[in-house]
């Protein structure tokens, strides 16, 4: 199957510091890819390369090629269009200080003129896809900041879905959440796999095992090993992967 994103010989620098080294992988469509590895090894940096959020950080530089729909995202693609197609869910839930409804409607309103009726439909559909609809249908006009942490994170996922992305980037989306909320998000990720390519950074090995199809192990800015999650967890090729997975470091 055609990959959702192809990364070729990617190097990434914060000023003089090389944070990603010669990364070449294909991210499959309609699958969940987990990024694991110790803190500071470049997982978040890699994620932000894919929707060009690193552009906001002064002094960053990239080498290599990243192809999304056969287009080099650093050369031939409109930045706004890229970010619409490649959505991002952050570590800390970050709903806007607006009503639940306006949080979801925010994205669609950015990109085109849209009728109230159509917008209502999009909001409802997005909230349903993020399995949040039943919990918020009666409080669409109240502030999103009044929701629980887990609900806020699902709201942020729904907010991404509302602009119809093809790829979802998630940076430790459950690290700020309690176990019940975490389980809900994991369920959600599994449901969403049918429609999107999902890349999720996680510190939690069990989580990677439970929800991902593929796993990439990062170490010091390099991908040490990348393959089917089952293989990586049961028959790691590299000694360092094995050490990390069995908890000997990191």
């Amino acid at each position: 199957m055609k990959p959702a994103i192809t990364i070729k010989n990617l190097n990434f620098y914060y000023r003089q510091v090389m944070a990603l080294k010669n990364i070449s992988i294909d991210i499959p469509a309609n699958r969940v890819t987990a990024l694991i590895g110790p803190s500071g090894c470049g997982k978040s940096t890699f994620l932000r390369v894919l929707n060009r959020m690193n552009d906001l950080i002064e002094g960053t530089r990239i080498e290599g090629k990243i192809l999304f729909n056969d287009t080099n995202i650093y050369k031939d693609m409109d930045l706004m269009k890229l970010r619409k197609k490649v959505g991002m869910v952050f570590q800390k839930p970050n709903p806007f200080p607006m009503s639940v409804y306006n949080n979801i409607a925010y994205g669609p309103r950015l990109h085109r003129k849209i009728s109230d009726k159509e917008l209502d439909g999009i909001v409802e559909k997005s909230l349903k896809s993020a399995s949040l609809w039943d919990e918020v249908r009666d409080r669409m006009e109240s502030s999103a900041l009044g929701l629980s942490g887990g609900q806020q994170q699902r709201l942020c996922i729904a907010r991404c879905l509302a602009v119809q992305p093809e790829v979802l980037l998630m940076d430790e989306p459950t690290s700020a959440l309690d176990p019940v909320s975490t389980a809900k998000i994991e369920e959600l990720v599994k449901d969403l796999r049918d429609k999107f390519a999902i890349i999720i950074v996680t510190h939690n090995m069990q989580q990677a095992g439970r929800i991902s199809d593929y796993t990439a192990f990062f170490l010091n800015g390099e991908i040490v090993e990348y393959g089917a999650t089952r293989e990586i967890f049961h028959r790691p090729v590299d000694k360092r992967t094995e050490d990390y997975i069995t908890g000997r470091f990191g």
Binding site: F96, P97, L110
Partner: protein
Amino acid sequence: MRSHEKWVQGILFILATTAVLTVLAITFFIFSEGLPIMVDRGVTGFIGSTRWEPLSGSFGILGMIIGTIQITLGAIALGVPVGLACAVYLAEIADRRLEKILRPGIELLAGIPSVVYGFFGLSVVVPFLREHFPGNGFSILAGSIILAIMILPTVVNISENSIRSVPGDYRSASLALGASHWQTILRVILPAARSGIAASVILGMGRAIGETMAVIMVTGNVTKVAGSIFDPARTLTGNIAIEMGYAAGEHREALFATGVILFLIIMVLNFSTTRFSRKAGDVK
């Protein structure tokens, strides 16, 4: 060490209470001088009347209240858009080099004595208005223009601070959804900073209402209610400053009563600022 600290604490306490006591003393003084005539003339003769004729014993300050409101609203209408644009530019767009030029400029505005503003108004703004518009230049508009410049530092600094204190998370979320920088500023950052911006407007109003010297120099100071922005007008502060030198008896009391009204207006404004900043705290 201990007793030393106690000493410092004691001195600080005395200084702090001095500040509060001074405010109380001023309040008491103004009210005790001004209230009798307010009570004597009643609402209709004092606040409700536009007849200010000290020689014939009429002390209606409605004209001055209206003048103050007109000139202040004019200053807000002119100064806030400019100040807000400045704040957005400084907080969101200007790089460090530009900021280094702009910020001292704005701070300088705050340091210029008001009589210098008045002088600028007198020698530039008033002649310009006389040349190009009806009237002789001394007008509400002249006052509003000068005050608009004078409130800029207040509006810019407080708005900029509130824009800068909008959590970066909101910005990232918006940009990651494909919003442009402008869309993010207009749809997320400014709304999130709105209580601080409102506070800056109210503080600017307070500044405009309280300003005396520069306003006297350019507004013409007639007590008749102005029919257009090109007509002259007198403000509450102007009324006190112009006539205090020679007023005696009831006339003098009436000027204190003008001060009471000013005092009340400023108090209401201050009160609403605190409310707004408290709300601003809630958002975060």
